[in-house]
Symmetry: C2
Subunit: 108 residues, 2 copies
């Protein structure tokens, strides 16, 4: 209500901020949808890798390959101005999920 | 070498499997590059959200918004044939990183 403001902001500021927040959240939702779909495609690939490794009796984990992946992703992150530490944590998070799947495939 | 095989596989099988593994890993590397770039864009958005929230003295976390995001992402995951549990864990992983950033912005 007019005149009932406890802080040093105008109602227009507040409204502008709300509109801006909505705009940003809309972009975040679009990007999250993209992430889910790319992750779904990535798991389709790793699922096939898991089957192949089980058929060939190869171990589920491949530390040499993971080291190369992490190094590459850190480099890409720097180029994209994403925190390389976060990129590494993210890849480890995804790989640990993939290994769970591979171990499940190999165990059946 | 020919004749030096300890397992019940032909060299052709092994070679075919290697080629297939390489093909899949190439796709995984492409998808990882996509993920890093989408994540970089997402953090650009959440960085702006963090600044806006700090300016407006809004709390860094928004549990109501997060609940809606998780529900939506689980639904999208099911459509994309991605494990919805993983999608939720993934979003929580990203959000926890975002909150660290927001708290850092608000604290400065």
């Amino acid at each position: 209500m007019a005149g009932v403001r406890s802080e040093d902001k105008t109602p227009t500021d507040d409204n502008g901020a709300r509109v801006e927040l909505l705009r940003l959240r809309n972009s975040i939702d679009n990007l999250d949808a993209a992430l889910v779909h790319v992750l779904a495609e990535r798991f389709k690939c790793t699922q096939q890798v898991g089957l192949l490794k089980a058929e060939q009796a190869m171990p589920p984990a491949d530390p040499a390959r993971e080291a190369v992946q992490i190094e590459r992703l850190r480099r890409l992150a720097v180029e994209a101005r994403l925190d390389p530490e976060f990129a590494e944590k993210f890849l480890n998070f995804v790989i640990s999920e993939v290994l769970r799947h591979h171990e499940a495939i190999a165990g059946t």
